[in-house]
């Protein structure tokens, strides 16, 4: 059985706004709040293309998953990894932004089957949003970090199971598994466990391991891919991932970023130097 295709995304808006807050939530992650011209509904897994208005040093917007919204205020989590995210951090509260939002196909809406949420790195925000939106006891939530400081513990309710690549400090009262997040999932759901629908978001190795796990068990699996983007709205064909079906490519921004794992050609995925 394959997953029903997610509904076509609602139309996106180009909105102006300002940075309303920008605070660290872990050693490497910051929570950014944008105050926009209008309120925008979104589905977990969708993203925005964010531009620093008037910043001549950046040519393209940067894609960030949507975490939460309250009225016209939109939140996301980000890590400083390069030029754009460094300028975002340096821009500071009050800086003007332009934002194309919401973009892309979200994670499929819930059905009675339990979910296995697998989040790694900056793949956490969309699954946090998912867990927040559809807070269901039957879903198993797993988040992986590099080390203890890396994870935004304050945003992870105790329902989240946590794995750490490297041993590290864990806040009082919390548990952490030594290993990656898919190894954690395997330990929690050994062979023979009831079927789960996998929702994975994070770097390519995580997605690959999630797809392998799902394939072994015959489970459905949705992965959200991270690809370099130009436009974010489907016009440049810059953000492609290899499609299983025909040797061609699908766009991460419009056909994705969430794909049924069976729809991707994992052998060709990540061939180039990638992101």
């Amino acid at each position: 059985m394959t997953m029903p295709a997610a509904a076509p995304p609602p139309s996106a808006r180009r909105l102006r706004g300002t940075i309303a807050a920008d605070v660290p939530v872990s050693s490497s992650m910051r929570r950014l709040e944008l105050e926009l011209e209008e309120a925008v509904p979104f589905q977990p897994g969708q993203f925005c293309m964010l531009n620093l208005t008037g910043d001549l040093a950046l040519v393209f917007g940067r894609p960030f998953s949507l975490l939460a919204k309250t009225g016209q205020r939109l939140s996301l989590l980000y890590k400083v990894v390069g030029r754009g995210t460094a300028r975002l951090r340096d821009a500071g509260v009050g800086a003007p932004v332009t934002c194309l939002v919401p973009l892309g196909r979200p994670f499929p809406a819930p059905d009675p089957r339990p979910r296995l949420l697998l989040a790694g790195g900056v793949g956490l925000p969309p699954l946090l949003a998912w867990a927040e939106r559809w807070d269901r006891p039957q879903d198993l939530r797993c988040a992986g970090g590099r080390d203890g400081d890396d994870l935004p513990w304050g945003l992870l309710s105790p329902a989240w199971r946590v794995s750490l690549d490297r041993p590290g400090a864990v806040p009082a009262g919390r548990l952490a598994f030594g290993g990656n997040v898919v190894e954690l999932a395997r330990s929690l759901l050994p062979a023979g466990s009831p079927a789960h629908v996998v929702l994975a978001c994070g770097p390519l190795p995580l997605l690959r391991a999630a797809a392998v796990l799902a394939a072994e068990r015959g489970w459905d699996c949705s992965v959200s891919v991270e690809e370099r983007m130009g436009c974010g709205y489907g016009v440049c064909r810059g953000c492609v991932v290899p499609r299983a079906q025909d040797g061609g490519y699908a766009t991460a921004c419009k056909d994705g970023p969430v794909f049924d794992a069976r729809g991707l050609d994992w052998a060709r995925f990540g061939e180039g130097s990638g992101v």
Binding site: G234, R268, G272
Partner: protein, 322 residues
């Protein structure tokens, strides 16, 4: 704002190019706004649609057969521009005429079809098939022959550097396109671009589009390897503007042909610089990718601009302004 007094023509008006009249002079560039289908549902407070006021959308280049394009990464941002190596991924002419042209026509999107091939005869075939299938299309204004793609193994750019080939490709397409504007899109990766423009005119082009991307490259310092799998790609964006302006100026000064200017344009001021050197219309590429309302905003700014203060400008008159 007020239009500058030195303008040799009113850029707010329609543009006659060969057998066609275009509704405006602000266009989107090929490859940077898809086939003119995506983006129609986007909204922005204070704006109409991303298509409002556009003189034309130049659609993504199509080839005789569909192409899967190059493997990713296909895009790389540099400090002042962008590198791309899309590799002419496209749906091929058949799907273009069957699935795309009718929608553009139904939506009333003025468009120019960008075509690429590897031999003059193929350009002729493409033009013939398109002309036959889209004969009744009122919004199909013209064809732009992409003689300059740097990202295909068949060597689009090498081919487009040879005036003899340029003339033959244009002539082959012209034959089947008596009723549409015909433009040849030229590469800046050449000594004299004016020579190519003159060749296009000999082949029967109504004008030329300049420029396609410069050849550029970046290296990933973690690996020491080129960031693009095919090493070098097309360099576009703001950094290109002075080069594009110089190339347009070269063509206008040396040939007097109508030129559609493209390269690094983001704002109305940028567009006015191209009009100042004699471009008859402009295209917006990379800026349209980072903001779907970029071209519409320039068109709106132009439409709203007041009449020039003085009609006798200080500027030079443009051989091709009308």
């Amino acid at each position: 704002m007020m239009l500058p007094g030195w303008l040799a023509f009113d850029p707010r008006g329609p543009l006659r190019l060969g057998p066609r009249e275009f509704p405006g002079r602000i266009w989107t560039a090929s490859g940077c706004f898809g086939y003119g289908l995506d983006g129609a549902d986007l909204v922005a407070p204070g704006y109409g649609s991303p298509f409002a006021g556009l003189g034309a959308v130049v659609t993504k280049t199509v080839t005789p057969e569909a192409r899967p394009g190059n493997p990713p990464p296909r895009l790389w941002e540099t400090a002042h521009g962008a590198l791309n190596s899309i590799g002419l991924e496209n749906v091929g002419l058949a799907r273009f005429v069957d699935e795309i042209v009718p929608v553009l026509e139904a939506r009333g999107v003025p468009f120019v079809a960008s075509l690429a091939a590897t031999r003059p005869g193929e350009f002729g075939d493409l033009a013939r098939r398109l002309a036959a299938a889209a004969a009744g299309s009122a919004h199909w204004h013209g064809v732009e022959l992409n003689l300059s793609c740097p990202n295909v193994a068949e060597g689009g750019v090498d081919f487009g550097r040879d005036p003899v080939m340029v003339e033959r490709c244009v002539a082959a397409a012209r034959e089947h396109l008596p009723e549409r504007a015909l433009l040849a899109k030229l590469t800046p990766n050449v000594g004299s671009i004016a020579r190519l423009a003159a060749a296009a005119a000999r082949g029967g082009a109504d004008g030329v589009t300049a420029i396609n991307t410069l050849i550029g490259m970046d290296v990933d310092l973690r690996t020491g390897l080129p960031v693009l799998p095919r090493r070098r790609g097309g360099y576009s964006g703001p950094a290109l503007l002075p080069v594009a302006l110089a190339r347009v100026d070269e063509i206008v000064q040396e040939t007097g042909l109508p030129v559609v200017g493209v390269g690094g344009i983001t704002t109305l001021e940028d567009a006015l610089k191209f009009f100042a050197v004699g471009a008859v219309a402009v295209q917006i590429g990379t800026a349209q990718m980072s903001d779907p309302f970029a071209a519409a905003a320039v068109a709106a700014g132009l439409a709203a601009a007041g009449d020039p203060e003085t009609s006798a400008g200080q500027g030079r008159s443009s051989p091709s302004g009308q």
